[in-house]
Every structure is written in C-alpha cells, then in structure tokens.
C-alpha cells in the first residue's frame, strides 16, 4: 500500500503545555483510520497538524514524500479536506454557497466558478443527502444538518484525503451510519483516504485501522478487533469496561 501521510516525531505545545509528545504514525492510500482517545488526549490537535492548519513545535508531516511546511497551501487544499467538529458560519450564507466554497482551491484568484464547479457542488449535496436544503441559510438549519453541509463542502473539494474531527457529534444514529458508509463507498469508488477522530465506539467497525491516543502519545494501533479489548480501553479512557465480540462486531459496556 502506498503511504499518503506520515507524521514523524511530532510534538506540540499550547501555551507551554505539551499536548502531543512525540507521535509517529503513518496513513495509507484507500484506508480509513479512526483516532480514539479520551477528551484532551490530543486528537483534534493531531488532526489539525496532519492537514497543515497547525505547525508542530517539533517534527514534520509528509504528504506523500513532501514536507507540509514546503507545500503550497492551495496545492495542499486541492488534495486534503478538513471537516471541523463544530462547523462555524459567521454570516448567513446559503447552503449551496457554502458547499461551492469547497471549490475555492480549484479556482484562480480572479476567476469565478464554472458550470463544472456548480455540478460538483450539487453532486456533493446529493451524495450527502442535503440537496433539499440548498437554498436554506446555514444559520437557520440544525446542528446535524450543518455538519452534513460541512461534509458536502469537503466533498466538493474532491480531495484524496479527508480529515474529519468527530463527524458524528451532532448526527443521529441513522445519519451517523450513513456518513460512515458514505466514506467507505468513496474509499472504494474514488480511492479516498479517511482519517477521523471519534468518540463513538459503535462506528469503529467501519474503520480499517484504529489509532488510540493516550496523554499525547500513540498507545495502540491496529485493526478494531485487535485493539479494542478490555485492557486497552480501560487504560485509554480510565474506566473499567466489558468488551464483547460477536460476528466481527465489538460491543463495549461500562462495568458499573
């Protein structure tokens, strides 16, 4: 498998507090990876470093063979998309305007969107299932719908790698499942690679590989059925759990 992203000895501090302490991790083409960890374990920070939003205090990230520090931002934006945990919209743009903004890295400074860009944006909205919202304002739809708008915007970017920060936060069970299935379909059909932080153990079965963070370090990584056991989860989340496996699925319950 070809490697798409590699983090090498990443360290990161916020105001003197070290959030990430030497992380080495690789991601491959056509692979979906889930990142798990307790609150404050450094998941969001790691994701932001992986897509070049934050620069690591030490260490480097390589997209294919190229150091992110030396990659032109717009060029990277054509290949890597980011979906934040809390989609934010400062002004009441319409849904279709926001999705169309995903095309920005593909359009020159003084160019306008072409017919093709509109088609791609419309397709992205249909794929995510929000085509009926296209003329609504992003400030007037629900939190879950906003998350889907953000996802559609990232799809319109036509990336090779999509990095999502807890895509399921505001989604109901049905949309959660559909989003995960959609990411897998895109992986199969378009060769998309996915890295997603998640708290939702229920959805871990959709990932090819899991990376578990604890206190700013990689605690364990591997296939879901190997990594998700009582011992590992107890350490990572600091809570006693019972893990049951049935037909390739993992069920986790708290002891108390």
């Amino acid at each position: 498998m070809e490697r798409i992203l590699k983090a090498e000895k990443i360290r990161f501090s916020y105001n003197g507090v070290e959030v990430l302490k030497e992380i080495d991790v690789s991601f491959f083409k056509k692979e979906t990876v889930g990142i798990l960890g307790a609150n404050g374990a450094g998941k969001s920070t790691l994701l932001k470093i992986l897509c070049g939003i934050l620069e690591p205090s030490k260490g480097s990230v390589f997209f294919y063979e190229k150091d992110l520090k030396k990659t032109e931002k717009k060029e990277l934006a054509r290949k890597v998309a980011y979906v934040p945990q809390h989609p934010f919209f400062a002004f009441p743009f319409s849904v279709k305007e926001v999705v169309l903004m995903g095309r920005a890295p593909h359009i020159g400074r003084f160019e306008f969107e072409r017919e093709k860009d509109w088609e791609i944006a419309l397709n992205a909205m249909e794929t995510v299932g929000i085509a009926h919202l296209k003329n609504r304002l992003v400030t007037e739809i629900s939190g879950g719908e906003r998350q889907l708008v953000s996802l559609a915007r990232a799809l319109a970017q036509e990336p090779e790698l999509m990095i999502l920060d807890e895509p399921a936060t505001f989604l109901d069970v049905k949309h959660r499942t559909e989003t995960m299935k959609l990411l897998n379909t895109l992986k199969e059909e378009k060769g998309l690679s996915v890295i997603a932080a998640t708290h939702d153990i229920f959805s871990t079965l959709y990932f090819d590989r899991l990376v578990l963070l604890k206190d700013g370090r990689v605690f364990a990584e591997g296939k879901g059925e190997d990594v998700l056991n009582e011992e590992t989860l107890s350490v990572v989340y600091g809570i006693e759990v019972i893990v049951k496996k049935e037909g390739g699925r993992v069920f986790v319950f708290p002891v108390n």
């Binding site: 998309a81 934010f88 400062a90 009441p92 995903g102 920005a104 509109w118």
Partner: protein, 333 residues
C-alpha cells in the same frame, strides 16, 4: 443566477443610481442652476461655483462614502461581525487628536496641497494604526479579538485626551475642533479630490482582490486554512488596507459615521453575503449614500449647512431602527 452575472447586474444598477445622485446633487444648493448651462454659459460666478465647489464636493462625498462603506464591509468580514465599522479601530480618534493639535498649535503650513490639519490628522491616524496593531499582536501574529478591543480602547483614550486639551483651549479653537470632529465635505478645488483618489486607489484594489478569501474566513480560521487561505496574512492585509484608506479620507473630511456600518448591512439584504459582490457594490452605494446625505445636509435648512456627519448618523440611525422593527428576526452576531 451565477455570481458573475449578479455582480455585473448589481454594479450596473448601482452605477446608474450613483450617476443620478450626482446629477441631482449638482443641481441642488443655495444657488440653483442647471449644471450644463452653467458649464457652457458665460456666467463666471456660476462656473466657479460649479467647478470649484460643487463638483469637487460631490466627488469627495463619493470617494469618502465609497471608502467608508467598502472598509466597513471588509472589516466586518475580518471580525466576522456585522457591527464592525471603519470608526471602530481608533483611526477616527487618532485623526481627531491630530487635527486638534494642528488647530491648537495654529499650524498654517500646508504641504502638497493638504492643509496642516489634514496632515497632522493623517500622521496621527497612521501612528494609531501601528500602535493598535502592535498592542494586538501575540508572538508576531495579530489576534482579531485583541485588535478590536485595542481599537475601541484607543478611541476612548483619544476622546479623553481631546476633551482634556479642549478644556484648556480658547473658545474659537474649541469650536474649530468640534466642527472638525463633526465631519464635513467642505472642500475647494479639485486638488484634494485627486490626491485622496491616489491614496485610496491601491488599498481599495487590494481589498477587492481578496474578497474570495474573505468569504472563506466566514467558515472559521481552521476551515479557511484548510481551503488554502493564509488566514493571518489576509487578516493583516484587510486591517492595513482599510486603515490606510480610511485615514486618507478622514484626514480630509473628518470622521463621518454610520456609512460604513449601514451600507454593507443594506446590501447584504439585497445582494447576499458574497463578499465578491458585496465589496464593490458597497463602494458604489456608499458613494451614492454620502452624496445624497451631503446634498440634503446642505439644502434642507439652506442657507445653513448642517455638518454631514451629524446628518448621516441621524438618517442612518433612524433607518437602522426601522430595519430592526420591520424584520422581526433574531440577529446573529
């Protein structure tokens, strides 16, 4: 309708509106005459009134209104807040203090066709721009929250200093200063118009060239970054471009409020949120708005002229309240 067509249609309509406003404005005044007849006729006095007073004044109103409005729109994109305006960031306070110093020291030495009051106002507002910017930086990066706060505090500080100096000034100087702070488009001859034009053109062009990035800023810093925007560079550019343009205008006209707040607000209702349309349209509507306001200010109680700054704040405020009463929607800040 696609963005390009929407932009062309709205710019055309607003341009026609501006031409109409200018035409009406040239007709109106204490002396009423037909500008075309005055221009082609033999009456030297009418010709002088038209070319030395009315035309420069109308053009200055257009430039000032345009700059205030486009800067307001850009600053609102920068702060992700529709209540930001060109007078928020301390520039007007700095300029007013500069003007007061020039008046108090009885400086009469003009330079390059600008009066000493204008020059002092300009210098002090430029100083303010850098002062506010340096206060708001954290480890070399500008923080927008601090920028807003530093600007507002700078304005208060300057107001206090102005009052302090006023307290020790004589009556005529006080009156001159207050008159300056009220804002006025009272200029003679085309010189100030051309020179202001030269100063404001580059920053305005810069602002229009980054409107696409301004749209992406509305999605938050992280997403804007991930879409290829150099967020901090764009923020710095917006700050310095608007500040420089606004300083150039204010040092000639004095602070004229509300145009920068209300024009982008009205336009968002009509043309939508897209800054690629909003910014250029703001310039044109701002130009028409201030030209119209100035025409009313100098004709309504003719031969007495009300300072245009008072007038824009009055009609702007009333209009804003009406808009609030009419739309019963929550306003998202």
């Amino acid at each position: 309708m696609n963005v390009k067509r929407k932009l062309i249609v709205s710019l055309t309509l607003l341009f026609i509106l501006w031409i109409l406003t200018v035409w009406i404005s040239l007709f109106s005044g204490t002396y009423e005459f037909n500008p075309l007849e005055a221009f082609s006729g033999n009456d030297e006095m009418l010709k002088t009134i038209l070319l030395k007073i009315r035309v420069p004044r109308v053009l200055m109103a257009s430039i000032a209104g345009g700059v205030f409005a486009i800067s307001g729109a850009a600053l609102q994109a920068l702060f992700r807040n529709p209540l930001a305006s060109p007078l928020t960031l301390g520039i007007s306070g700095g300029a007013s203090l500069g003007a007061l110093i020039a008046i108090r020291l009885r400086l009469n030495q003009g330079l390059l066709g600008f009066s000493s009051t204008s020059i002092c106002a300009f210098l002090l507002s430029i100083l303010t721009i850098f002062f506010v910017y340096s206060v708001s930086r954290i480890r070399g990066v500008v923080a927008t929250g601090r920028l807003l706060l530093a600007g507002v505090v700078a304005n208060f500080l300057f107001s206090a200093l102005i009052l302090f100096i006023q307290f020790f000034s004589d009556f005529i100087q006080s009156l001159q200063t207050i008159r300056w702070i009220m804002g006025s488009l009272d200029i003679v001859g085309m010189d100030p118009v051309w020179k202001t034009c030269v100063l404001i053109a580059p920053p305005c062009i810069v602002l229009v060239s980054i409107t696409k990035d301004m749209n992406l800023l509305a999605l938050g810093d992280d997403v804007a970054h991930s879409l290829g925007v150099r967020v901090k560079t764009v923020e710095k550019t917006i700050y310095f471009a608007t500040s420089f343009a606004v300083s150039s205008v204010i040092s000639v006209t004095g602070p004229i409020g509300f145009v920068g707040l209300i024009v982008p607000h009205i336009l968002r209702v009509i043309v939508g949120m897209d800054n690629r349309i909003l910014l250029p349209c703001s310039f044109l509507l701002g130009a028409s708005f201030l030209t119209m306001a100035d025409t009313l200010a100098r004709t309504l109680f003719s031969p007495v002229e009300i300072p245009v700054g008072i007038f824009t704040a009055l009609i702007g405020g009333v209009f804003f309240l009406w808009l609030l009463f009419r739309t019963k929607k929550e306003i998202i800040l």
